[in-house]
Amino acid sequence: MDIFGVPIQALMGQLMLGIVNGSFYAVLSLGLAIIFGVLKIVNFAHGAFFMLGAFTAFLLAQHLGASYWTTLLVAPLAVALFGMLFEWLFLRRLYGLDPIYGLLLTFSLVLVLEGGFRVAFGSSGQPFVTPEALRGTLNLGFMILPLYRGFVIIAALMICLVTWFVIERTALGASLRAATERAELTQAFGINVPRLVTLTYGVGVGLAAFAGVLAAPIFHVNPSMGSSLVIIIFAVVVIGGLGSIMGAIVTGLGLGVVEGFTRVFYSEFSSTIVFLVMVLVLLLRPAGLFGREEG
């Protein structure tokens, strides 16, 4: 059976790959959405933190001989700490101002990080080996899936689920949501909002770095690996509805699939399709697919 001349089995394969690719988008856009929700800042440095995650993992493995599993835990934490420091030192001076200043500051950070890594490690990147345990392949019947790609789906979905659970079902998440809605009132209830904000930025950035470590064995680790990713992630978050956790995750996965099919039918357009989708969605559903219309 064929669809537009492509066997249905091949399309199943592409669907699977789309989900893998979408898993990266989901984790990245989840981080961006959380940061936007609380800080009201569009974190332009999200792609740079993704790169930072991958590079930290590489450096840990290279120089300290850390196993992949260790780096998967340590690298996001390290990057999150760095992000929190950045928030604490600089970003917090811009709260209450027009969000465009936050955008500009995080953009400057991109220049410093990407430029700095290029000076230190060159532009052409580093090899990163897939962990031994995940090297095989998985026969799904309609395709042979490398084990590692399967692992990516599971790891990404788990981290998304955990994040969602923390935000929606725990006391910490409750105060976070409260701070999102009414920061001053939350402060009045005795919750340390500034610390909460720093923590949120850390979590968002940590998620980006986690995606970076996940990407390291399959995508080429180099200083500009996140730079073209960032506007795609913006688009995903906006399509999902700004600040909507669920929206970010679902749209991320969905977009991966849409992009995957575009690669089969009109490959040249595959990096542009997300923007076409965004225009259509915003014109038809102003607050995005999962956003609430406020007003």
Partner: protein
């Protein structure tokens, strides 16, 4: 000492300096100044939206680049006279601006910015695919031709004065717009859109008009650049260029008419004179921008005004923190 009394003397000194540029090739290279002038016009045109109407467009490269490509192709392939080519570049960009504006202004704040970004990505894709653009090689060897059939533009000096003249007219248009009744309405929209609506102004039509004007002038800036360097390249329509112009505007100060011009000059100079630092140039640029955002948020010109203890009488500044709506309070009626 009021800044306002300093404005005219400063402007005149600046203008004299610009006129003198071709006579001092040892001091400053005239082609570099021409390029800067293009960005000056681009940034000031962009600021019609950001600073004066409170609309953040993240897709202005689409207009800048369209101007460059249209002019380049007309002049190169169809032998259209240079001045008509530039005019056509501006017109096409204005038309594109009206269309994109009409779609984008149905939303506001970040959503509006994202629509402009998205459409400009589609425009980028068009120019990447279109056979005449040469993709990443660019549209090369655009002849400079003559201006009005008389002035041979192959001389850098002649071209310099033509560019200076066109950019001057462009800036004058921006200035007139800001200080006209039309500009007053734009500010009213920026300050409080529902009030402007309830006063009976056709706000949507005003927004589309200013979008088209801003786009048209940006297109002319792009056209000029295509003529100066005799090429139009993908970078001109890339979203990085949209980002660059935001940066220039904010660095210079978006609440002033000439701030963006200063910002454009700063960015252009940084790009030009940091070469000896080799690979460090990106890091240095980043640190400079960071310092600017953290220390003088009103932009160079804005802070200068504050330092001199006064602000320019017109245009009045918005409440310092909210030059454009974040999309929450008053989503325009559909």
């Amino acid at each position: 000492m009021h800044l306002r009394s300093l404005t005219w003397p400063l402007l005149i000194v600046g203008l004299l300096a610009l006129i003198a540029v071709p006579f001092f090739p040892q001091l400053v290279y005239s082609v570099f100044v021409m390029k800067t002038l293009c960005f000056v016009l681009f940034a000031c045109a962009f600021n019609l939206l950001l600073g004066h109407t409170g609309i953040l467009s993240f897709g202005h490269a689409a207009f800048f680049g369209s101007g460059a490509y249209i002019t380049g192709q007309l002049v190169k392939a169809y032998g259209v006279p240079t001045e008509l080519g530039i005019l056509a570049g501006g017109l096409v960009a204005a038309l594109l601006g009206a269309v994109i504006g009409a779609l984008a202004i149905r939303r506001s704040g970040i959503y509006l910015a994202m629509i402009t970004l998205a459409i400009s990505q589609l425009v980028f894709f068009f120019f990447l695919q279109a056979p005449f653009t040469g993709a990443e090689d660019g549209l090369q060897r655009i002849p400079r031709g003559t201006f009005l059939g008389v002035i041979d533009l192959n001389s850098d000096t002649a071209l310099y004065y033509v560019v200076l003249g066109i950019v001057g007219v462009g800036l004058w248009v921006v200035w007139r717009t800001v200080h006209s009744p039309f500009g007053q309405v734009l500010r009213a929209i920026r300050e409080h859109e529902p009030r402007a609506i309830s006063l009976g102004y056709p706000v949507a039509r005003y927004k589309v008009m200013v979008f088209a004007l801003s786009a048209g002038l940006s297109g002319i800036a792009g056209s000029l650049k295509a003529i100066i360097f005799q090429l139009a390249a993908l970078y001109d329509v890339h979203w990085h260029t949209s980002g660059d112009v935001i940066l220039m505007t904010l660095l210079g100060g978006m609440n002033t008419v000439l701030g963006p011009a200063v910002g454009a000059a700063i960015v252009s100079t940084l790009n030009h004179y940091l070469d000896p630092f080799g690979a460090w140039v990106t890091v240095i640029t980043g640190v400079v921008f960071m310092a600017c955002v953290l220390t003088f948020r009103q932009g160079v010109v804005g802070e200068l005004g504050k330092l001199l203890g006064t602000r320019r009488s017109a245009p009045p500044q918005p409440p310092a923190t909210r030059p454009y709506s974040t999309g929450k309070p008053h989503e325009p009626t559909r």
